[in-house]
């Protein structure tokens, strides 16, 4: 087996506020192959965005305790000096966000921001960088690319801003794209455009993508593999088809059952009782046990075991469902 592009091992992150320390990631491990699209799927507070941000070490140093290891192209990101990390950010690993306003600077034109990024990382001439910026805007299907180079972010529509942010992220041909809910704020007809664009860029450029979303529909459109997160842990991961068709973790199964599909009408839904737990007051053992219809006494004690329902389909559960064909 070839070396994964990115490997996260036993990542634990605790955040300290004035009174106490709260563990928000509780041992996250994952591998991302070259050219693979992995969706981190979970509800608010499950730790999916924190996992993504930790790859670029975007979490504040103060009050954050991190343990575990993140290796990118076999390099330990936590051991890297700040200068090497800065060189990596934006060049080998790029990130896109839900809100393009957080990635684009309002006082510079879109073209200038892309040119500056290319020149900073690669030291090429202004003319060459400008040429590449234009190609990038064409690649992300912004019409009239030449003219849009001179546009300020506020002059673009929502979907166009999202495309401009993707162009900026791809400026230095990164190997890994981190996408934090990039389509969540978009209208349905624009969301599908951006998903299809990302899929095409991924194919053409051989990108690896980690895509954070709470929307199973979005994951089903873009993911090769999904990892389901709950209360700071990955509770299930596997190929997107397997996980959606034969979910192994009771949480995944309940989440799929409570998600409306096309054509459903009127009858009461099988809802998951209760609410996602407060990370400061997690129950012992499996965090889902208090809401789980299959839980037994042992589930509340000790770490649930990791079960394989197929060689590449892992479930963190004492009483998984749909095991065996």
């Amino acid at each position: 087996m070839t070396e994964p592009l990115l490997r996260i091992e036993a990542l634990r992150i605790a955040v300290r506020n004035s009174e106490r320390s709260v563990e928000i990631l509780r041992g996250v491990s994952l591998d991302l192959a070259r050219g693979e699209v992995l969706c981190l799927l979970g509800e608010s507070g499950s730790g999916k965005s924190v996992t993504l941000r930790s790859v670029l070490r975007l979490l504040p140093d103060k009050g954050t305790t991190i343990s575990g290891r993140i290796a990118f192209e076999a390099e330990d990101l936590f051991e890297l000096p700040m200068s090497a990390l800065t060189a990596l950010r934006g060049r080998r690993i790029a990130m896109i966000f839900q809100e393009p306003a957080t990635a684009l600077d309002p006082v510079y034109t879109v073209g200038r921001q892309i040119v500056e990024t290319i020149r900073r990382h690669e030291g090429v001439s202004n003319a060459e960088a400008t040429g590449r910026a234009r190609e990038l805007l064409e690649r992300v299907q912004i019409p009239l690319a030449e003219r849009r180079l001179l546009a300020y972010p506020h002059e673009l529509s929502g979907g166009m801003r999202q495309r401009a942010m993707i162009a900026l992220a791809l400026a230095c041909r990164p190997a890994l794209l981190l996408a934090d809910e990039p389509t969540t704020a978009l209208d349905t007809t624009v969301q599908i455009q951006i998903l299809l664009l990302l899929r095409r860029l991924q194919r053409e450029l051989g990108l690896s993508i980690i895509f954070v979303t709470h929307d199973i529909g979005v994951a089903s459109e873009i993911a090769d593999r999904v990892a389901i997160m709950y209360a700071g842990r990955i509770v299930e991961s596997g190929p997107v088809r397997d996980v959606l068709r034969r979910p192994g973790h009771p949480y995944t199964e309940a989440l799929l059952a409570s998600t409306l599909r096309r054509g459903e009408r009127g009858h009461r839904r099988p809802a998951i009782p209760g609410a996602p737990p407060d990370p400061a007051e997690l129950p012992g053992g499996c965090a889902f046990a208090p809401r789980c219809g299959r839980a037994e006494a042992a589930c509340s004690e000790g770490m649930p075991p990791l079960v394989l329902s197929a060689p590449d389909h892992c479930i963190l559960c004492r009483r998984p469902v749909n095991l065996g064909a």
Partner: protein
């Protein structure tokens, strides 16, 4: 009022906002938020309203309860015109029509306990305090929150799903007949969304309510609604029974909206986006049909003629006055559904017998 009068009728409702020009100086521009909307909501039904951002669906909701004054147009509640001589006052309207918003935290007063929040409006409307508090606790139980546990809590001590239950309880405290739900489940996690949808179904049966349910989520609208109204840039483009809208959509925009939904099936992924670009700016909407700039079937006629809402099924594309007595009526505002409209795909005129 007779049984077949709609609970709510809206005719020719229009609201334009004057906004500062995009460049920052220069004159004001006119944003066509809601631009001539007709609709009705029948007693006991759920009317779903769908559309993308900027289509005017939230402005419509605010106009209906007079949080905003319309420029022109009539809102008729239970046969009585709102704020008109001999009609129903705005104050009385707001007892009968209540609203639940998307942001469950912003719509609660952070300094009021849950009980005080729910009892507030009945007290304003003249209920004795003790009685209002007793009712508030009963409402809490009805929305699935144990009164002993939740009555004395403040909004920040609740989860998003619990807060939305409180908002629903507060809206129901005045015993309204129509509940307007504006993206009321959109901010909730899926596992919690299912709980709140179940609650809405139960309450509708128990309290004999009528819902106007506004959402951008087509699955949720299909799940709850009896009829669905599709908006685009301030106009109604299609309205009809939920099965007709989802199975036989007539307007190209409705078809595109449905085709743009994620499939939930990795083996049936979309290859082509059904529409290019974003919805146009409501400041300067296109002439004629507002959808024509993104429509694959647009022809010269579409720029020249503003398409009327015309019957889709079996009526040969006649332009009809919307008929609230006909539960199955399905209308679309597209020249392709209007006989003799000049569009090459329009149905032929039926024989001139009548």
């Amino acid at each position: 009022m007779s049984g077949d009068t709609p609970l709510l009728t809206v005719r020719g409702l229009r609201k334009h906002f004057l906004v500062r020009g995009q460049s920052g100086w220069g004159g004001k521009q006119r944003l066509h938020a809601v631009d001539g909307v007709d609709l009705f909501v029948r007693r006991g039904e759920t009317l779903g309203v769908v559309g993308e951002s900027g289509c005017g669906k939230s402005t419509l909701a605010r106009l209906l309860v007079r949080l905003i004054e319309p420029d022109v147009g009539d809102v008729i509640f239970d046969g009585a015109a709102v704020a008109a001589r001999g009609g129903i006052s705005v104050r009385a309207l707001r007892r009968a029509v209540q609203m639940v918003f998307q942001d469950s935290l912003a719509s609660l007063n952070p300094r009021l306990t849950v009980e005080a929040t729910i009892a507030y409006a009945p007290i304003v409307h003249g209920a004795p305090v003790a009685e209002a508090n007793r009712r508030a606790r009963a409402m809490l139980a009805q929305v699935g929150l144990v009164p002993e546990q939740f009555a004395d809590r403040y909004p920040h001590e609740l989860s998003g799903g619990q807060r939305q239950r409180v908002n629903i309880a507060r809206a129901l405290a005045l015993e309204p007949r129509l509940l307007i739900l504006d993206e009321a489940v959109s901010a909730l996690d899926k596992s919690v969304e299912a709980q709140v949808l179940n609650l809405l179904l139960d309450l509708k049966d128990e309290l004999d309510l009528t819902y106007l349910f506004i959402s951008h989520d087509l699955n949720v609208v299909q799940y709850l609604s009896d009829r669905v109204l599709v908006m685009y840039l301030g106009r109604v483009v299609e309205v009809g029974p939920v099965e007709a809208i989802y199975e036989r959509p007539a307007h190209p925009y409705t078809r595109a909206l449905l085709a743009a939904m994620p499939t939930m099936d990795p083996d049936a992924r979309a290859d082509e986006p059904p529409l290019q670009g974003d919805p146009p700016n409501p400041i300067d909407p296109p002439s004629g049909c507002r959808f024509r700039t993104r429509c694959a079937f647009a022809e010269a006629a579409c720029a020249a003629v503003d398409p009327p809402l015309a019957a889709v099924d079996g009526a040969g594309g006649e332009v009809l006055e919307p008929d609230h007595a006909n539960a199955g009526a399905h209308y679309a505002s597209c020249l392709m559904s209007v006989a003799g409209s000049g569009h090459s795909r329009a149905p032929a005129r039926i024989g001139v017998a009548a």
